[in-house]
Symmetry: C2
Subunit: 464 residues, 2 copies
């Protein structure tokens, strides 16, 4: 954070009445936006999910949505006008604020200024608001709707001061720390934000001590205004009044599916002779794998259950409407790990969330439901067998390959081949957007990511 754009300044030019007049339409008393983000959910992943979950000739719930668009994903470059591949922090910031920015930034612009988010605008205008994610609730995507820090790693009051992160030295965001007059780490900003419901993982970020005070974020929680829960039973029995913070894992929520014996994509095994001349020798492809339940998933509440609870609470005694962001975060995280079954299970979770959202829209017609991805990701469906299988030389995919047994008896082969590092890279394709009929006339066939913010904020009457 460098400077704060006062929320009141923004609101003064954007009253709902003015917006309705400008749009020439009758402003309903109650309108809602449910934004569902599939992290890394590009067209390769959508097709992987469709092939596995609905069958190659079937269709997903999202395929039934009447509105579809392509969304250009944009990242401001530090040395060139643009970078062509994004991360979840800058893209979620753009979705949340309508402003393009640098990679790694959460709710902050390229000059480190704090950007007002659609959730904050909605909250100030009387809408109930919520964030739900299968990641730590402090992770980049949910964080960008409620918090403002210069770097996505600043999730708690310890790491914000810098130190070691993922085994590397990390500068943190010291200027954002409360001790330095800043708004605090992401966990602190979630607690101090107006968000009515925040459900996901990330308990560790709320329990780690601030090295300056010795106190954790949860120590500052006032139970008369915020209910905190950490398991399914407590979630379902939580008092319906006040704000709700649900943290169901120390870090990201466990995923639903994994490969046989925990296997992920593997390198094809080439013979010594092949390493000397690509035309010679032989190659052994990885054995096919099944997608099976992840034993670590246990009693984790599903993303659909979290969404149901959020919508029920946010709808209660509400005559204004709501803004809810739900992220299926581990489509991307499992793709980084080269685990197609992991991603497929989280696509199934996204589908269930969409079904819950569409149910809500049935009973609340002025609900805009949008599904989109933040950026494209590494997985590619490749031919099984190779297009060149009849040519008598060993042929295989560079990088890593997983061959997934399909429910209908087929074999779908996925390659991950963007990086020599143990984690795959994102990619730069435009991403899909799916929306319900409420989007007619608001979503065009081609959009930049910042225009999704515009569409949501205008629908809620928050922008002229």
């Amino acid at each position: 954070m460098l400077r704060l754009i006062a929320l009141t300044t923004v609101l003064s030019i954007s009253s709902p009445t003015y917006a309705a007049a400008v749009q020439g339409e009758e402003q309903s008393d109650y309108r809602s936006v449910i934004l569902i983000i599939g992290d890394g959910f590009d067209d390769q992943h959508v097709t992987m999910g469709r092939n596995y979950l609905a069958g190659h000739d079937g269709q997903l719930v999202l395929d039934g949505l009447p509105v579809r668009a392509a969304v250009q994903v944009q990242t401001v470059g530090k040395t060139a006008p643009w970078q062509y591949v994004a991360d979840s922090a800058n893209t979620a910031t753009t979705l949340a604020t309508g402003v393009t920015t640098h990679m790694g930034r959460v709710g902050t612009g390229t000059d480190d200024q704090d950007l007002v988010t659609v959730l904050q605008l909605a909250s100030a205008a009387g809408f109930k608001t919520g964030i739900v994610s299968s990641s730590s609730i402090t992770d980049a995507t949910p964080a960008s709707f409620v918090a403002h820090v210069s770097s996505r790693g600043c999730e708690n009051p310890d790491i914000i001061l810098g130190g070691e992160l993922y085994g590397n030295e990390y500068e943190g965001c010291p200027q954002d720390a409360t001790g330095n007059g800043g708004p605090g780490s992401i966990a602190e900003q979630i607690l101090s934000s107006p968000v009515d419901v925040a459900l996901g993982g990330g308990l560790k970020h709320f329990t780690v001590a601030d090295p300056r005070t010795g106190r954790a974020v949860l120590d500052a929680l006032d139970p008369s205004t915020v209910t905190a829960v950490t398991d399914r039973r407590a979630l379902l029995s939580a008092d319906s009044s006040g704000r709700l913070l649900g943290l169901f894992a120390e870090g990201h929520l466990p995923v639903r599916l994994q490969g046989t014996d925990g296997r992920v994509a593997e390198e094809p095994d080439t013979s010594m002779l092949n390493s000397l001349d690509w035309r010679l020798g032989s190659v052994t492809q990885p054995e096919p794998m099944d997608c099976v339940p992840n034993p670590d998933y246990g009693d984790t509440p599903s993303l659909a259950l979290l969404t149901e609870v959020a919508l029920a609470r946010l709808s209660l005694n509400n005559d204004r409407g709501l803004f809810l962001m739900v992220e299926s975060a581990s489509i991307d995280k499992q793709s980084h790990k080269r685990n197609p079954c992991g991603s497929i299970g989280e696509i199934a979770q996204l589908e269930e969330v969409l079904a819950v959202a569409l149910d809500h829209a049935e009973s609340h017609p002025e609900t805009l439901v949008i599904v989109t991805a933040d950026h494209a990701q590494a997985a590619q469906i490749v031919p099984e067998p190779s297009l060149y299988a009849e040519i008598p030389v060993p042929i295989y995919s560079p990088g890593y390959v997983a061959r997934v047994n399909m429910p209908d008896g087929g074999l779908m082969t996925i390659n991950y081949a963007t990086s020599s590092f143990p984690s795959e890279e994102h990619t730069g394709a435009n991403v899909p957007l799916f929306a319900n009929t409420t989007a007619d006339g608001r979503i065009t066939a081609f959009m930049r990511q910042r225009e999704i913010y515009d569409a949501m904020a205008m629908f809620l009457g928050l922008l002229p």
Copy 2:
């Protein structure tokens, strides 16, 4: 070919009048379909093209089209219900006939039956018809609209009998040879088909001698009914009466752009130490390249010029309408060769074709313009620098990498990493579809490829 479904049988159940009655709409006297196929033109390639040609914050002509859909690409498996990655033969066959089939098939079903194409139906119903491609006009995509053979390689009367193809033994399609009572090779079927205009490359397939008769396909051409041209000047001065066959290269037409000094994507150069341990040593990335004119392009007529000529001829003295398929073929062919500049130049050609088609639709309002891809392809836009660039280990892409200098000063990095073979594989993502307002109510947000055939044939009143 195994058996021929009589065209008259199909037509007897699908008169335009009946179709109009079923659709409850007034049947215009004049309606046209222009189908533009970008071969391999998936969302990675669309975005590559947009970033380079329009700028990262710009938009392509196709981005201005109001209708966008995702299209599931389907291939019937030989040992499983489905294969998840297609080729241009089976997908063009599906677009042309509405039937899903095996890879490699041209206008034939899984039992080798000949399938009636939308072009053949249109021609029989009085529409003028054309095929235009930057490939050999006998290549899989254009061929599938007019010809019927069991295997895409059967382009001429020599190879149809089998022999050596691309250095490998090839069985050909002997049952389709005229000497065996079949309809002949693709070149022969194009000449004997009713298609009014066929423009592209592939002269060699019309001049090679049939080993049984010693005669080439062009020897059978009757100049009183078909004008054959082989260069731009003859194209522009051709008699406007009768059919037109234009063959402007021996094989595929040369492409417009190439990388500096003809460079394509290259393998990152890793040090010896790095080959022993991925965390050690160093890596040298390929030098950036510019996209520059291909010196071999010469006086080749552009795909847009071929489209203009085709539309002008097909519109002449025509009160019924037209069906025209135009393929930008080498988006895919250059992607197989790991040549991003080559693909980008052919995306530019597709954009110009679309502009010509939209101009035509301006003056002929009942024109359905559809742009789509046949299948996804290998290129991926990857981060520059890596997402993990701050970690002090050498990080690079598997496979091949090209770093393209952008007109605005940026650097776009593309990887090709699907195959150890000298040619990349196709991939399995659903592909985009773009259409003009005429498509409203005819194109839904999610379609299978066969349903594009349905939409085109119904629009022309060829199907009930």
